[in-house]
């Protein structure tokens, strides 16, 4: 038995509003299943579960705004009998509203009388606090710890009890200006401000720039697209992203999340892609496992992510697991973009708008399509020499006739 809690969808997120449950008690779930929708500063996000099991009691109702870490549901881990909690079960309203659409939950397996100690293994707590919480049937996740590293102490348990029921549902102002539905522009601005301020405060950036001749890549792309219907055409952005992801194999330390010491690069490339919102603001959802995708697959993933960023829903893994971010200005921007790293990532690659420029090619000055690529990287984990190797590798890959 474990507790499924309000996930953190970014270092700056403090709370989220539960919009909808996509599961009901008794449902079997596997790792990666989408179980709920939560409204955040980045819009409505589909929440995946990271453990297999059977959904027990739902502990939060749609409409509630809950702090990060607040219990949302009980999860019976596979091959463990479900424990029904006689105390915490604010279910009737949910059951009633969903009863019409959904079959009745399967009867729970015979409930074993178990001391309510199992949940909370992931929470730092003193042994005394753990024992007392179990005795009182309190989920440690729900208690604010005052000990080292936020550990829950015995006194925190007593305070939690004497404080009475927590004011879990805090009404939020509903009259703020809205961009697309479910997206609060003021909140998004605040989220960007928090992340970027943290980046400039904590990350010693260094910057490199390099001009790349894109003419041959452009010619290959044009030839490729000429034989394709519009739905199968590629954009230059897919080439750029593909080359960038491939180049990380040569300088792997630029790919990772610096959230624990010591820093360790990520084996997989979850490539964030900055998507600008027309009303202002941006979101950088990640293409997961981009290192194994060819340009066509990259393009399909980009289409899907952009569409869901604009009008649909992103998943929490897409906005919390990025290991590097690429920001591209598209066709109608300025020459170069020097980025701010999205923490806890350690590098951001910026592409300016490709533009025809006079370049020396085969010994003569010719009009060639060119793009300026920049790298903003964390000097704690890499140096300019390695960064330069990375940018020249992107250049080299874009000249290769074999790609795509």
């Amino acid at each position: 038995m474990s507790i499924f809690t309000m996930p953190s969808l970014g270092a700056d997120m403090e709370e989220g509003k539960l919009v909808e449950w996509l599961v009901k008690p008794g449902d079997d779930v596997k790792k990666g299943d989408i179980v709920a929708v939560v409204e955040t500063q980045k819009g409505a996000i589909e929440i995946e579960i990271f453990e297999a099991g059977q959904i027990g009691a739902l502990l939060a109702e749609p409409g509630q705004t809950l702090p990060v870490g607040a219990p949302l549901a009980r999860l019976g881990v596979a091959d463990e009998a479900e424990v029904t909690d006689p105390v915490a079960a604010p279910e009737p309203a949910i059951q009633a509203s969903r009863a019409a659409a959904l079959p009745a939950p399967a009867p729970a397996p015979a409930a074993k009388p178990v001391a309510a100690a199992a949940p909370g293994d992931a929470v730092l707590a003193s042994p005394a606090a753990r024992a007392r919480a179990a005795e009182l049937g309190i989920a440690l996740e729900a208690v604010t710890g005052s000990g080292p590293g936020g550990a829950v102490l015995l006194s925190d348990i007593e305070n939690h009890v004497s404080a009475g029921p927590q004011p879990a549902a805090q009404p939020v102002a509903e009259d703020r200006p809205k961009g697309k539905p479910g997206l609060d522009m003021t909140e998004m601005r605040r989220a960007i401000a928090a992340a970027m301020s943290r980046s400039k405060r904590e990350i010693p950036h260094y910057y490199l720039m390099h001009e790349i001749d894109l003419q041959s890549a452009h010619d290959r792309l044009t030839a490729l697209n000429a034989d394709r219907t519009p739905d199968r055409r590629l954009l230059m952005g897919a080439f750029l992203l593909h080359a960038t992801v491939k180049s990380l194999a040569k300088v792997p330390e630029l790919n990772g999340r610096y959230d624990v010491e010591p820093y360790a690069p990520s084996g997989q490339v979850h490539c964030g892609m900055a998507v600008a919102m027309r009303g202002g603001g941006l979101i950088a959802p990640a293409i997961l496992e981009a290192q194994s995708k060819d340009p066509d697959e990259i393009m399909a993933a980009m289409r899907d992510l952009v569409a869901r960023t604009r009008s649909g829903r992103l998943r929490n893994s897409e906005i919390t697991r990025g290991t590097i971010t690429i920001s591209a200005l598209g066709e109608n921007g300025v020459d170069a973009l020097i980025g701010v790293i999205y923490p806890p990532q350690v590098a951001l690659v910026g592409f300016g708008a490709p533009r025809v420029r006079p370049m020396v090619h085969d010994g003569t000055i010719q009009p060639r399509l060119a793009v300026t690529v920049s790298l903003a990287a964390d000097h704690r984990v890499s140096d300019g020499r390695r960064g330069a190797l990375f940018l020249t590798e992107i250049d080299r890959l874009l000249q290769e006739p074999a790609i795509p």
Binding site: K180, T222, D231, L235, R278, R303, R310
Partner: protein, 82 residues
């Protein structure tokens, strides 16, 4: 299809790829990228939708002829007549 029908179809596909645009506020001469803020992905999705609706190939070389609603209606009208 009359030019009015073509325009309605074009605006429908445009607002499907850019749901934050108000159909009533799109002017005939608004430029897709410069005025309406479409990026290259949005524009490609618009071309894909028009391809699906009208069965036209719409090669990349013709993209500038879709830059505004007025241009697009003229282009679609001509392409469908051929």
């Amino acid at each position: 299809m009359t030019p009015t029908d073509l325009r309605a179809a074009f605006i429908a596909d445009l607002t499907a790829v850019a749901p934050d645009l108000d159909p009533a506020a799109i002017g005939d001469n608004d430029h897709m990228q410069d005025d309406l803020g479409l990026d290259s992905m949005d524009f490609l999705n618009l071309v894909s939708a028009l391809h699906k609706r009208f069965g036209l190939p719409i090669p990349e070389a013709d993209y500038p002829r879709l830059a505004t609603a007025a241009l697009a209606v003229a282009y679609l009208d001509q392409a469908l007549a051929e």
